[in-house]
């Protein structure tokens, strides 16, 4: 009995620390089952498709910054709109200059500015991040939208209210065909290049959050702001910095968007990405209350989220319209397990204790 309890608690601890792996495994098994039911065999190409999906790479990259924001106990609702704005600028700079370094600079710079605006309003203005980023969410998208309708199609690259990479530019071939949609082949496996960008960013953020003093201060601010301040942490600066980092993530994501998709439509691209990013962070096991969560989970969270999409798409007879319902359900179930799990365990322990004393 005693041994069994030890094992159970060990599994319990593993679950609470690495729930994101279990979640991904369960969802993957579900996907394999659906693929099998459709009469196909589950192959590497299925996984490669998940890896290269824009939901994994673009949303996943944004989710890395979002995770830091949420760990400090804040939220950023503007990321979908900033992605649209940043990608618009990125594509225009590319169309005008045909220069890859300038394009990257524009992407990171614009993303950073978008993030800094959020951060400063929250940090210096002492306003709640929910409201601030709700405001900038509206502003960033509407600015881009009104801009794209007025700009010369020669610069925006399209006449239909969108920004598109100019195919006449000499670097177009490399960016779109080689990098954006290309894959690295290792034997029979192939991994999309943009997946490496996401994974590279993820490794950077994992190191930042676990191996640096800055990372500890991010957790400390989210866990107990007052204590954090009294150890000399500049709480305002930490809060601003996580928004700035999210802006940089959006910048990287906008390069991926430009190279993989080739265009961005201010009216419809990136809609609800903030929600997808938050969902990926939650699936990663990061506490919405702040202070807790691992960045490595975001890789799994983003993959889980994409896989759910793939499952729904591959069930015949299910329309895409119902997709969000399932995503929402899975999200709620996972959170339920995360929050209710410890509470249930506590209740069981209390019952057991009462029985022992009685």
């Amino acid at each position: 009995m005693k041994e069994k309890r030890g094992l159970l608690s060990k599994v319990g601890r593993l679950w609470s620390q690495y729930s994101f792996i279990f979640v991904l495994l369960i969802i993957m098994v579900g996907y394999a089952f659906v693929v099998g039911a459709n009469g196909n065999t589950f192959k590497w190409s299925h996984i490669a498709a998940i890896l290269s999906s824009q939901n994994t790479c673009i949303v996943g990259t944004i989710a890395l910054g979002m995770a830091l924001v949420i760990i400090t106990g804040q939220i950023d609702l503007s990321v979908g709109s900033s992605l649209v704005l940043t990608t618009g600028v990125t594509i225009m700079v590319f169309n005008l200059t045909n220069s890859i370094p300038l394009m990257i600079l524009a992407a990171l710079g614009t993303g950073l500015v978008c993030g800094l605006i959020n951060g400063m309003l929250v940090g210096f203005g002492k306003m709640p991040p929910f409201v601030v980023t709700l405001g900038t969410m509206l502003i960033y998208r509407s600015l881009t939208l009104s801009f794209v309708r007025q700009i010369d199609p020669a610069i925006s690259g399209s006449s239909s209210s969108q920004f598109a990479m100019k195919s006449a530019n000499s670097a177009y071939e490399f960016l779109r065909m080689k990098f954006g949609t290309g894959q690295l082949r290792i034997g029979s496996f192939s991994i999309p290049y943009i997946t490496f960008v996401f994974l590279g960013m993820a490794i950077l953020f994992i190191l930042l959050s676990t191996k640096t003093k800055y990372g500890k201060s991010v957790y400390a601010v989210g866990s107990n702001e007052k204590s954090a301040r009294l150890t000399g942490i500049n709480v305002t600066w930490v809060k601003i910095s996580v928004f700035a980092l999210t802006g940089l993530c959006v910048g990287v994501a906008s390069i991926l968007q430009a190279c993989k998709i080739g265009n961005v439509t201010p009216a419809s691209s990136g809609v609800s990405y903030e929600m997808y990013a938050i969902a990926a962070v939650v699936l990663a096991g990061v506490s919405m209350a702040g202070g807790r969560g691992r960045l490595i989970g975001v890789i799994f969270g983003a993959l889980s989220y994409t896989t759910i999409n793939f499952i729904i798409v591959s069930i015949p007879g299910l329309s895409v319209d119902i997709q969000d319902t399932f995503q929402g359900l899975v999200l709620i179930i996972v959170i339920l397990i995360q929050t209710a799990g410890p509470a249930i365990r506590e209740n069981i322990q209390r019952l057991r204790k009462r029985r022992n004393t009685a």
């Binding site: 191996k211 640096t212 003093k213 800055y214 500890k216 201060s217 957790y219 400390a220 989210g222 866990s223 107990n224 007052k226 204590s227 954090a228 301040r229 009294l230 150890t231 000399g232 942490i233 500049n234 202070g291 807790r292 004393t357």
Partner: protein, 499 residues
Amino acid sequence: MPILEMKHISKSFGGSQALKDVHLSVEEGEIHALLGENGAGKSTLMNILTGVLPADSGSIRFLDKDYPTPNIQQMETAGIAFVHQELNVINDLTVADNIFLRRELTRFGLLRKKEQVARARKLFEDLGVNMDPSVLVSTLKTSEKQLLEICRALYMDARLLILDEPTTALSNDEIDHLFGILRRLKEQGKSFIFISHKMPEIFAISDRYTVMRNGEFICDGRIDETTPREITSAMVGAQYMDQDLYEPRELQDEFLKLTRYSGQGFRNVDLSVRKGEIVAFTGLAGCGASELMQTMFGALPAEGGSMTVNGAPVRGSILRFMKRSVAMLPSNRKENSVVPDLSILENFYLAEQRLSKRHPFIFRKAEEARYQEQKELLHIKADQSSNGILSLSGGNQQKVFLGRWLNTGADVLLLDNPTQGVDVGAKEEIYKLILGFAESGKTVIIHTLEIPEIRKVADRCVVFYEGRIVKIFEHAEVNEHDVMLWATNAIETSKEATA
């Protein structure tokens, strides 16, 4: 005929025995002083009485009824009310709303605000309390909030009220007023358990007393048959009285200087502290000593004057003060020190990492080694350093936070109520550590309201009253009576009394 009888109450938390075979009986219409040092088990006993904690064994009998497994609801309806030290009133509601909270007067589901205000006014009149029921609680003084909470309990027909250090935040006039009300209520047959550390008050208001020490029942009796000295030795116990850790030290040159230093809650403070000296700040809650200490660490803004450390002025952010080798262990550990989601090691290193942030990467092995050193030095009882900080007892947590600041190499240690919520044994250890810090040349300022604590460690004791220094005692002069007189600014009147 007692209205409350608690017998053979025992309680343990994990391995440590918090209460061992404790008795308490309260008569109808009496004020019963429950006495003991912090950590003696008074709060645990009261929590058991009010149903917050279950007792491991023992019996509770209240108004001729047994309560084998009391819960909060039961004890409340039975007529026991707990007036907490940290006030449980809701600031954003009016006085009347607070009194009727959870038992609002309604008609057709709608609040009868006027009726509530009228009844509250009537209640205040009956009790002789001068308070407007229609104002917001946030506009009240602390003493009024205290009274409000007592009134609310009385409105709920409480027969026995537990008053947990009700006078800490009150001025002398307010205390007199409160005591007047308590005496009147006593005549109406209400009973009180009065928790306090202040001897003069205890002797002024109580009828009987019970003394606890280290979770054990020590003695009880009638107040008019004992003396403050007797009670104090019962509270403190012989072994601690004997254990005088303090020894005079050779002090070095002036190290810390405040010149006409002003800020929130204090003004024009002049003070010079020498290297290796331990100075205690004391005074009633709200006397400005805690605010001064926070300002001396950059946590609150200074509004005038200057502070110099080793001759150089210090001002600005907390980090600036830290760079000038000032450290502060804040009061209220849970709120101001603990970072609950981080491990022991991470909590320990948080402050040092600010000072060394030019090197952005963490070297876990080096950190672990330094932590183990401090752990040894401070006698921290902990398993793995990767465990959560909350897995430690209060005393050990506090030692980790002491270590947090020692590890920054600070020369000036500001300790705000360092033994708050720490058990008696760990307290002694912390005193030893503090004396050791001074011995090694650190300048220590400790803010505390406990006079025995001051007697144990301080070279000098600075008494504050309403944001000013009113008296500085040398170590040998420190005694509860005199410090209290100055802290309450009652010195003029009492000179006549003692003469």
